[in-house]
Symmetry: C2
Subunit: 319 residues, 2 copies
Amino acid sequence: MPEQIMEIGLNAVIVAIVDNTPAILQTAGENDALPYGKFDPGTHRTMEEGLRELVEAQTGIRPGYVEQLYTFGDRGRMPVAGDKSPHVVSVGYLALSRFNTDQNTEIKLTNAKLRAWYDFFPWEDWRKGRPALLDETIIPHLLEWAAHPARVNRIIRGLDPLSRIRISFGLEESSWDDELVLERYEMMYAAGLLAEAVVDGRFTQENSNIIPSIAMVHDHRRILATAIARLRGKLKYRPVIFELMPETFTLFDLQQTVESIFGRAVHKQNFRRLVENAALVEPTGASQRSTGGRPAALFRFRSRILKERPAPGLKIGRR
Amino acid sequence: MPEQIMEIGLNAVIVAIVDNTPAILQTAGENDALPYGKFDPGTHRTMEEGLRELVEAQTGIRPGYVEQLYTFGDRGRMPVAGDKSPHVVSVGYLALSRFNTDQNTEIKLTNAKLRAWYDFFPWEDWRKGRPALLDETIIPHLLEWAAHPARVNRIIRGLDPLSRIRISFGLEESSWDDELVLERYEMMYAAGLLAEAVVDGRFTQENSNIIPSIAMVHDHRRILATAIARLRGKLKYRPVIFELMPETFTLFDLQQTVESIFGRAVHKQNFRRLVENAALVEPTGASQRSTGGRPAALFRFRSRILKERPAPGLKIGRR
DNA sequence: TCAAAAGTGTTATCCTTACACCCATGT
DNA sequence: ACATGGGTGTAAGGATAACACTTTTGA
């Protein structure tokens, strides 16, 4: 049997903060897709280099921080056309871009568009309280699905579906863990609550209960879920948040950016203290006359912290 | 220009505890290498499936826990023969294997050998105190290297070499961070303290100062460093330690396994308490008449914890 | 009897969490 | 005046870290 042709793809989740909500850059066009390109070791010395170039070519954006996420290689992740199509193993990357500059820089989006990431994951945004979607549709459907063992056939290793649902959606003791984005996505996919499950042929229009949210091509929404989870985790021990901030900012700006990523409110007074005595920021001396309120002191990232401590993160508490 | 042929490789870091020290499985033979195989999407539905089969075929071991680490794709990571050799992008995996069974099962190592992981990283084992190697050779050589800016040419993004050394080797305020295994490896590689740097042609025998330790082929030791770092990090929020333990064990056994992975001693009394009131284990009722000492109660992993909490880890303290 | 490991109890300290309250500005 | 966000103080609670001490076995 002849071997299949292999191809290494690169996928980029490029995050920027727009209007106090995280957004991703997408290639312009009909369907929602992540910027994608082939990795050619002839042109690029490293995959990260290839990724950076691809992002700039496709979106006009030069990302600052770039990090490899995961490599997606399952057969059938791109179920197209004839069998002769090459098998694509895709390496997902997370890239952070400073977008919310004060300088009113018109972003030249060569060939890209922006989309708020909670359009794809409305159940992940708890900033205005627990999303009604959860109790109205998602959780009932999940429980109904888990109650029919016949449908639950794909889960081999690990926990039973009901326990998974309980853990990932925080059913008891109200413990919603903001890092379990991927687990929640996968449960919903398995239960046929996402349009991708219909496209993939795992469900039909009839026996699925699609939750309103934007789907993406192939497994791109899965890659996005991985990116959100990784970013939420990373912020707790690395100061990558500043890759998304302008040069100077108020503590409230910073708080709102953090809240937008975690998708939940944090305690104002304690947040300020935690940030300040973590020595992550320093005052610039200037202050900003804000919209309705006392002027706020402006701060900048104290980048020297990187030379001082190995894991300076944002210890954010609840509420 | 014709495109290069691509190939997806799978590399496995298979960890088992042997004689209270973590060891990895290697393919038998002259040089030290990780089990390696090609990923063929025709045969295997997922990469993890391919990895599991490859591990079993090459070592006779069926790993329990398997996790993807990182994908290594830099050009020149396998600098061999003519230019027509295919470019290999390699996906590294971490696999944990229950090896230290009481049942005296003779492990049939089909085609593999075992090697303690601190043979490759002697400076990472602090169980008997701070390794003399560090102050005698490693740190002096690193500082000497960093003092010559002419040699320091490859680091583009990020911190200056001296700060990197200070952070990753915990020079001031005695803060050795046990998770920075990869950072330390990379600093030593960059400074020409590892045999790999000579093989790769970055240094000659003369201007290098090789630190005694076992080298591996290609970038395999780098993959191993990634695995150690990941495992040390993971243990803090996931109970994967039990994938390395026999069915029942004493708390001291558990402590020694934890210590062997972190490469440092932990505080005995507090460790017991932390483990017990994290509800990670339950007594079996039986006890073990130990070697010279009071018999210890035997425990087993309370696997129900997985159904109860999202991130049950080992909160181990210092010392 | 002594060494070695098991196991318990207690306290000081730090960090998180929560609550209360005052300050400065625009409308 | 009052709404809005900026900013400070402090006390309760919980978790960690450190220390002291008793118990049970084998040699």
